[in-house]
């Protein structure tokens, strides 16, 4: 069915003279580069400046690092995605018995909303890398790692490979070919939730997670 509002708006726009269209010179983006060894320290410094916490771990030892962090902070439940390779690693190496419990996000929100909002102490997700220029993690929610895992629990733990740090956001989306197929939701996350709406005083943990903990895995 033709939409008369649409036709009228587009008709007016089509009938108008067009402004000049100068060339877009992206050189200013392309020249923002850092040597590979400087990218992770830069990201860490910038993200720590907005209160992100870092745990450094090895490829073999990160599940134990996650667990001991939960124990030390008194966090009793960790929401995770059991179908990702990282989720499987976590489940395989998680000791049964006493201590923090893994909770799988494996059912639709309609069945788990109450539990998600009221019972989860922390959520665990993987990342698709980080951004050196500004700090920040690339998080693509998926059927295996739903959107709310990195939002609703008060603590968000994010697994980051220190080899996967891009110079800029522009570099990341071009290198990873995002334009060829965007997921229903993609995110950049640079710290815990914050606000400066009262007298420009910075306060952390307003609506999203109060803490963001990066589990940085180096070679």
């Amino acid at each position: 069915m033709p939409d008369p509002a649409r036709e009228r708006i587009l008709g007016r726009l089509r009938g108008s003279p067009r402004c000049a269209s100068p060339a877009s010179d992206f050189a200013v983006m392309a020249r923002k580069t850092w040597p590979a060894a400087e990218r992770y320290p830069r990201l860490r410094r910038l993200m720590e400046a907005v209160k992100t916490e870092f745990l450094e771990a090895t490829e073999d030892g990160w599940p134990a690092t996650v667990r001991s962090f939960l124990v030390s902070q008194g966090l009793k439940t960790l929401l995770y995605g059991p179908e990702t390779p990282a989720g499987r690693r976590l489940a395989q190496s998680w000791p049964s018995g006493e201590g923090p419990r893994l909770v799988a996000y494996d059912r639709p929100i309609e069945q788990t909303k109450e539990q998600l909002f009221n019972e989860m102490d922390a959520g665990f997700t993987t990342t698709r890398g980080g951004i050196a220029e500004t700090g920040g993690l690339i998080v693509w929610p998926s059927p295996e790692e739903p959107r709310l895992m990195s939002l609703v629990p008060p603590v968000h733990l994010a697994l980051l490979s220190t080899d996967a740090i891009y110079d800029t956001f522009w570099d990341a989306l071009r290198s990873q070919g995002w334009a060829a197929g965007m997921p229903p939701n993609a995110l950049l996350i640079s710290g815990p939730s914050k606000t400066a709406d009262i007298e420009q005083t910075l306060a952390y943990g307003v609506h999203g997670p109060k803490r963001l903990v990066v589990v940085a895995v180096g070679r």
Partner: protein
């Protein structure tokens, strides 16, 4: 032209704001802080020059292809499962939102920050129809509790200090105990709003950039309320003006970088939320329906003028406000417009009419601080001058709303006499003679001069009614007479 009723009076509102020392202190502190933080992040002049040139070029390229890009956006959004609707007026946009909410039986709505929804007066519209529409951005939540409108497009509650907010929370939130601690105030809002996110039937948000190439809606935020509003409820309605589109995904990073640095002096916001569709197959959360409402509200009229269309480059960072000597002194409410400050001074008269809001195009010293700060190089000063001209003289082919209708009889009469005097030498001489001979009879209070000579009672100035300056008095003889006396015979 959504605004009706008598035109708001800017001058008395500005005069009133100038007399409020609390308001002036709140704005002065906030704007100084924002300017310093922004300056620190644009400390490399070459990067600033090149990045803003790129930002301006991307926005200009977008506008040069606007109708085609909107169609591409619509096509790609639809392919992603996002329902696209178009609205010419704010009334139509409100009706579309209501229709969607009714279809889902939604009575509780949470909102992320959206200036387009302010244009629509959406909260009032929904509340009148029995639908709770709750602002979830902390600043917006604060002013909604107090029945106010935003005084700044990025920091809506910037006019309030923490004591005022503490009192407001104590009065309006049942479980809140009085506290002036910012962390505790934030925690109170978190508790109240968590419950609201949990219960909400639908979420409404704005859009910072809509990417035509991929059909992606981008939202910039720090609090997580935007994600809560767009991810938790089963229906998400996004609202955007027609100018919010960009061509390619790679156009987004430079604009995003300019936006956060210009707006709040942050290298990056906490969240950059890119929405390309509703809950996909196998996904366990996210809205099952996403709607995009594309609003015109006089933007296509602005677009039809090749010079004024630069207004539509705006990415709503608010840097022009933060740097404006007028805005900093009177705050946002005096403008009585959705968009205050320099961008509002060029936008509001174009959407509501240059006759109705002609005061706004004069509410500037044309100092150009806004132009220097603008990350997309909008020539605000040139556009103000153009609109001043259009308000009184409609240019041939002009599409400006109410062009030529903003004439003022006193001003017209003054120019009529000025013109006559300069066309007729005898009249000019007579006026010179009268002015010099009758100079002592000039009253001490003249309608136009009194603002210069008498105090109006500002917080730092002398009390109202006290004399500030001597009334200017013409010289005893005209320049012609003095020259003739000195032997210049053709004077």
């Amino acid at each position: 032209m959504s605004e009706t009723g008598p035109a708001p009076a800017f001058r008395p509102a500005a005069a009133e704001a100038l007399k409020n020392p609390q308001l002036r202190a709140n704005f002065r502190r906030a704007m100084d802080g924002l300017m310093a933080k922004r300056a620190a992040l644009f400390s490399d002049p070459v990067e600033w020059r090149d990045l803003r040139a790129l930002g301006a070029a991307i926005r200009a390229r977008t506008l040069a292809r606007l109708p085609e890009l909107l169609e591409t956006l619509e096509k790609n959004c639809a392919a992603n499962g996002i329902h696209v609707r178009w609205a010419e007026t704010t009334g139509e946009a409100n009706a579309i939102v209501l229709e969607i909410l009714k279809k889902h039986g939604a009575t509780r709505v949470v909102k992320g920050k959206s200036m387009v929804s302010e244009e629509m007066h959406l909260n009032d519209f929904l509340e009148e129809r029995g639908i709770e529409s709750l602002e979830s951005d902390l600043g917006e939540y604060i002013i909604q509790l107090d029945g106010e409108t935003p005084s700044h497009i990025i920091m809506p509650a910037i006019h309030k200090n923490k004591q005022q907010i503490a009192k407001l929370f104590g009065k309006k939130i049942r479980e809140a105990k009085y506290t002036e601690d910012v962390d505790e105030l934030t925690a109170i809002a978190r508790r109240v709003l968590r419950k609201k996110f949990f219960e909400a039937d639908a979420g409404i948000s704005g859009v910072n950039f809509a990417v035509a190439e991929t059909g992606t809606l981008c939202l910039v935020e720090n609090e997580g309320n935007g994600r809560m509003s767009t991810h938790v409820p089963s229906v998400h309605i996004a609202l955007m003006g027609i100018e919010k589109v960009v061509e390619k995904l790679e156009d987004v990073p430079p604009l995003y970088s300019l936006l956060t640095r210009s707006a709040t002096g942050q290298v990056i916001s906490t969240y950059f939320n890119m929405i390309t569709g509703p809950r996909g197959p196998g996904e366990k959360d996210g809205p099952t329906e996403v709607h995009l409402v594309i609003l015109d509200n006089e933007r296509s009229r602005i677009f039809s003028d090749a010079e004024l269309s630069a207004t539509l480059r705006c990415i709503r960072c608010g840097a022009c406000m933060n740097h404006c000597p007028v805005y900093t002194r009177i705050g946002g409410h005096a403008y009585q417009a959705v968009y205050p400050g320099p961008i509002g001074k060029i936008l509001t008269p174009q959407t509501e009419g240059v006759a109705r809001r002609h005061e706004l195009v004069h509410a500037s010293s044309l100092c150009g601080a806004c132009v220097e700060a603008c990350p997309v190089q909008i020539p605000i000063v040139e556009l103000l001058v153009r609109l001043r001209r259009e308000a009184t003289h409609k240019e041939p082919g002009s599409t400006v709303l109410q062009a030529g209708e903003g004439r003022n009889r006193l001003e017209d009469a003054a120019w009529f006499f000025w013109e006559a005097a300069h066309r007729h030498p005898s009249l000019y001489r007579l006026m010179g003679f009268l002015a010099t001979r009758l100079r002592r009879f000039l009253p001490s209070r003249l309608p136009v001069l009194s603002a210069w000579t008498w105090g109006s009672g500002g917080p730092q100035g002398p009390p109202p009614g006290s004399r500030l300056r001597a009334t200017p008095r013409p010289a005893a003889r005209t320049l012609h007479e003095l020259a003739r006396k000195d032997g210049v015979d053709d004077a």
